[in-house]
């Protein structure tokens, strides 16, 4: 036999050996027939029982995974034990392999299929009642189904109902093998902290919040009751409680227990009030608020059915009585009297109906007000206000008294005031995040938020301190923290050191805590060494204060260690997790998992605050989970005012989602609501740029630029004026003689144009954050390496440097030493013998001292010697080759080819770096590409002479097109 035939034999053996049993085979005494169902782990066959001459169903497990085998046997045992007409009976089982069990063959359609037809509700409700009865029996026997959904409910031709698929069922009060670990502690400390098998395999649209959150110790009969409520909700409203585009988003909604839309649908549906109330009770997010088990649900349904039957009987009796009366009247009374009676009856009926309507409206009004008060107690002010408005709409219908109207007005005023204060406090919690982007805007936001709370910030420190001390105990710590954050942000931005000191003195007066007093004193003294010695107080918010001070002082490792230790000590602390999530998101490489888990803890700790939800949305957006991010933004807006930062994040998500129209609407709304905020104009400029309206883009960008006292956005973020108009547009706004405040932007623009001497002149007068790092770069380009080292030393510890800026000082030192050696090397011939390790250094030096041909040759060899592509080096090779081509007409074509090949390699490497997904990588790649687009030394190959041969012009055009596309994609706000 030939080898290929052997291979075929082996393949057939593997195919039929692993295919499991099939038609015609015998399992136990059952002969398998056609396969009637297929699942992820097993098959269901129609089978014949020759002993009893009947048809049965045989379920066969297709895998030998121990966990699944155990679960399979457990399902068989549970179904065999539960003897109820609504639960499919098991006849026999076999251990296998493969394991199997035989059960009753059920024919009919699933409730899912019946719901899809949207037929009459009565048969669906009848089937649902049977399901409740079956579940009630299971619960009475201590069994919880845990995966109840319409697809698992079979309705026969004659209305008989059976609950299927008990594979995830568990027994109350016993160790739960089906679902893995049972206690919440185990869930929280599982090696990965991920959702557990038992909950993961549930079905999110019907899943109770505790089940979705894998709190398996809390999953009991009331979790099934939630699923029953979900099915009832679908019967009444046509959709299950959670509706989303994908499974992940559904699971997130289930985890959050976001039932607002479902309740709204239930309230608006035309279903009987009793059933709506029952569904709402079953869908309570807290399990203790639901009926205790399915028996209670079944009892409520039977009671409803009885009341319906009773109402029908009463109506029939009334009708018969009326008929008898009419006959009698026809015989006895005259026509006029009869007419009179009819008129009287009609008037009486109308009056009665009117009184009933008023009474109903009063009941609804009272209930609405109570719900609003409850929502207020839960700090859900937006929902409470909506309740108040619903109540206001009922005032006339309920013929409310003056007292009730006054009571409602007082309630509205009180809730609105609390919402305003809460919004201001929430805004205060998040302002610090964007302080560095827009210090004047942040200053305005702080002042405004303090004014909202009733504390104008333009008063004397003593007066502010007194007012803070007079605030309610609940709100005081937030304000003190906000003052601390405000001061820290001023310190970090290095724009208002004296202002920061003033603020710290205010908060020192308002807050007498000794630990914080010591911290503030150290910050005022600007002593990083002493700061590192401070031992955390043990309080989460204090720890964050310390960590922020450490980060601002450049002690990143210590700051991170302080946060990590606090997280370990208090795994549910809001402030620590919020801060750590922010740091993890901005880290390089981005620590998305850590950011997400910390942000989730922050959301759980502050369920009623919009800020942590906005942060989690930002994390998920960065992970590409845009649907979930959008849902979180919506939830955050429900909870209160988002603030400029929160609105900015929501707009960013819309843009990434491609919902440009909505982003435009929101940006315009933000520009109207906060006209002095630069961000909204940035977005409008971005959108104008995107649709090709450069004039509008530049106009909006200039407006944003004028709102900022200084344009830190250029260096740290994607600033639209720079991106849409390039460095020349920036120089157009800054003017010929930039002020010290915005000289860094002018310097950076000149640096990007390759005009290093001009950049240096401008930067001499600058004093902003980032100026020393930029001066180091400019000095380096000018070949003055010792000076560059000095600038690096000044930048270190003072500025919030990027990773490569930390390494830059070492690069400068290496160049300084090499430059000293190069001074003795005169001719190009000497350079040809350089060892590979020296090629890069000497090549780059040659570029900077104007020896372009030598630079091109050495850098080409250096790039070829390397085992990975370094984009900056390839750019320098391209620049050297282009410059060399100008003085070498004979070799110009080859040199331009070298330049293009280098840029193509660099672009491929940059794209690979983008796939790392970190925000820092995106920022670095964008800035690198901008330099390609604007460096004047590359202008000859960027624009090209009009008489270029096609074979040379075409690839260059393609390259610059690819560069422009990549850069445009990165301009999205992140």
């Amino acid at each position: 036999m030939s080898d290929p035939e052997r291979l075929w034999d082996r393949a057939i053996g593997a195919a039929f050996g692993g295919a499991g049993p099939g038609r015609g085979q015998q399992l136990g005494r059952f002969v398998l027939g056609a396969r009637v169902g297929v699942g992820a782990t097993g098959n269901v066959f129609r089978a014949h029982d020759p002993d009893l001459g009947r048809e049965v169903a045989v379920k066969v497990l297709r895998t030998d995974a121990p966990e699944l085998v155990r679960r399979f046997h457990r399902e068989a045992a549970l179904c065999a034990r539960l003897q109820h007409p609504g639960i499919v009976p098991v006849y026999e089982r076999g251990a296998g392999p493969p394991p199997w069990f035989a059960m009753k063959l059920i024919t009919g359609r699933t409730l899912l299929a019946l719901l899809a037809e949207r037929g009459a509700a009565e048969p669906l409700l009848a089937a649902f009642t049977h399901v409740c009865d079956a579940l009630a029996y299971a619960h009475a026997n201590g069994v919880v189904h845990r995966d109840l959904k319409p697809a698992n409910i079979m309705v026969g031709e004659f209305g008989e109902v059976q609950v299927l698929d008990w594979g995830f069922a568990g027994e109350a009060g016993t160790a739960d093998e089906a679902a893995g670990p049972v206690d919440g502690a185990a869930a929280a400390h599982s090696p990965l902290g991920l959702t557990l098998v038992g909950s993961v395999f549930g079905t999110p649209p019907y899943m109770a919040p505790e089940q979705a959150r894998a709190e398996l110790h809390r999953v009991d009969a009331r979790s099934d009751v939630f699923s029953l409520g979900a099915i009832l909700c679908e019967i009444l409203t046509g959709a299950p409680p959670y509706v989303a585009a994908d499974q992940a988003a559904l699971l997130e909604l289930a985890r959050l227990g976001d039932l607002g839309p479902a309740i709204d649908r239930l309230v608006c549906c035309a279903g009987p009030a009793e059933l709506v109330a029952l569904a709402r009770q079953c869908l309570s997010p807290g399990s203790e608020d639901r009926p205790a088990d399915a028996a209670e649900v079944a009892a409520a349904l039977h009671e409803y059915a009885s009341s319906v039957a009773q109402r029908l009987t009463d109506a029939r009796a009334t009708l018969l009585a009326q008929l008898r009366t009419q006959r009698l009247r026809r015989l006895v009374l005259l026509l006029g009297l009869a007419l009179l009676a009819v008129v009287v009856a009609t008037v009486w009926g109308l009056d009665r109906m009117a009184r009933r309507r008023v009474e109903g409206a009063r009941v609804r009004l009272r209930r609405t007000m109570q719900e609003a008060i409850q929502q207020e107690a839960n700090q859900r002010f937006a929902a409470a206000l909506r309740g108040v408005e619903r109540g206001a709409a009922l005032l006339d219908e309920a013929a409310a008294t003056a007292e009730v109207r006054a009571e409602l007005a007082t309630l509205r005023t009180r809730i609105a005031a609390r919402q305003r204060i809460r919004g201001a406090l929430a805004a205060l919690e998040s302002i610090g995040v964007d302080y560095a982007d827009d210090p004047p805007g942040a200053e305005r936001a702080y002042s405004q938020a303090f004014a909202e709370v009733g504390i104008p910030s333009n008063q004397s420190p003593e007066r502010i301190a007194r007012q803070v001390a007079d605030l309610p105990t609940d709100d005081r710590p937030t304000l003190i923290r906000a003052l601390d954050d405000w001061a820290a942000a001023r310190f970090k931005a290095r724009v208002q050191r004296s202002g920061a000191g003033d603020l710290l003195r205010v908060v020192q007066l308002a807050d007498s805590d000794p630990w914080r007093q010591q911290l503030r004193a150290t910050v005022i003294a600007d002593d990083p060494a002493a700061l590192e010695q401070i031992v955390p107080s043990g309080d989460g918010a204090d720890t964050v204060l310390l960590a922020r001070a450490l980060f601002a002082a450049g002690s990143h490792e210590r700051g991170r260690a302080v946060l990590e230790a606090a997280r370990t000590a208090d795994p549910s602390n809001f402030a620590v997790h919020y801060e750590l999530a922010t740091r993890a998101l901005l880290a390089e490489p981005c620590e998305l998992q850590l950011a997400e888990s910390c942000a989730r803890v922050a959301v759980a700790a502050r369920a009623n605050s919009p800020a942590p939800r906005t942060l989690l949305a930002r994390v998920l957006r960065h992970a590409g989970r845009l649907v979930e991010a959008s849902a979180l933004h919506r939830q955050a807006r429900e909870l209160g005012t988002l603030g400029v930062w929160g609105e900015a994040q929501a707009i960013g998500t819309l843009l990434l989602h491609g919902d440009v129209a909505a982003a435009q609407r929101q940006a315009e709304a933000l520009a109207r609501a906060a006209p002095d905020t630069a961000f909204s104009h940035d977005v409008l400029a971005f959108l104008a740029d995107r649709r090709g309206d450069t004039a509008a883009a530049l106009s909006a960008a200039r407006r944003a630029a004028t709102l900022r006292a200084r344009f830190t956005g250029i260096v740290r973020h994607h600033w639209i004026l720079f991106l849409a108009g390039g460095p020349r547009a920036v120089l157009g706004v800054v003017g010929d003689e930039p002020t010290p405040g915005n000289a860094i932007e002018a310097g950076y623009s000149l640096y990007c144009l390759g005009r290093f001497a001009a950049a240096e002149r401008v930067l001499r007068s600058a004093s902003a954050v980032g100026v020393d790092a930029l001066r180091a770069r400019v000095s380096f380009e000018l070949g003055r390496y010792a000076e560059a080292e000095e600038h690096c030393a000044r930048a270190r510890g003072k500025e919030d440097l990027w990773v490569d800026e930390h390494r830059f000082a070492a690069v400068c030192a290496r160049f300084r030493r090499a430059a000293e050696e190069l001074a003795s090397v005169r001719g190009s011939a000497d350079l040809r013998d350089l060892p590979p390790a020296r090629l890069t250094l000497v090549g780059r030096l040659c570029l900077r001292v104007g020896r372009h041909a030598d630079a091109a040759e050495l850098l080409e060899r250096a790039c070829a010697e390397r085992d990975r592509v370094v984009p900056a080096l390839e750019r320098e090779l391209a620049i050297a080759a282009v410059l060399a081509s100008r003085s070498d007409p004979a070799g110009a074509l080859r040199l331009r080819g070298v330049a293009r090949a280098a840029l193509e390699r660099a672009l491929a490497a940059l794209n690979a770096r983008l796939r790392l997904g970190s925000m820092a990588a995106q920022r670095t790649v964008l800035m690198e590409l901008c330099r390609w687009q604007w460096d004047e030394r590359l202008a000859p190959v960027r624009e090209g002479p009009p008489d270029w041969p096609v074979q040379e012009a075409k690839p260059w055009r393609e390259l610059w097109g690819a560069v422009a596309r990549t850069a445009a994609a990165l301009r999205m706000p992140r």
Partner: protein
Amino acid sequence: MAPGETCWTVIEAAADGDPGARSAFARAYLEVVRVVLSRRWARSPLRDAVEDGVQEVFADCFKAQGPLSGLDREHPSGFRGFLFGVTRIVALRFEEGLQRDRRRQEMVGSAEPSTEDDDLARSFDREWARALVRQAAHRHQDASVDERAWQRCELLRLRFSEGVPVREIATRWAADPAFLHHELARARTEFRQHLLAEIAFHRPQATPGEVERECRELLELL
């Protein structure tokens, strides 16, 4: 299998939430992922997280804006490459999580999970090949509508899976050995057609020659 149906139509329907398509997807592919992850994590603390991993792969495949949305359906690696990519990303994500958790808890003494990508790729390719021949067997069985066709499937199973000689099968079935040899040859041809159809189902853009070549490579992997 409906006319015109390919692995992409199935997975797109599954991503849209079609329960039948999800079930078909799970039946065909989750066992591959389960076996690959079980082997990779057999001696690591992640062995208890295999089902979580399988579930993550399942969820990632269908995620809105997930890998499916930006996929090049004409890429030579086809659906196998897509599923391998998702499995690899999930495996690495779990392993990174474990490492981080371990650093935090300073756990020592547990065996490391196998982190070589080559191992994962080899293991995945082998399981993929097994899954495809199993699917081909299912096709074969589903297409066997009459008793004789079904007997041919059973003949393949007895001969190549259980190793029973044709002569003994003939004795069991009271049939002529020469006739069974003839039926066996026919059954092999049928199975071959079903396997080629299964490969084409996963590579809808491939030419018949490419399908034949992939079939040969797949047999080598088993």
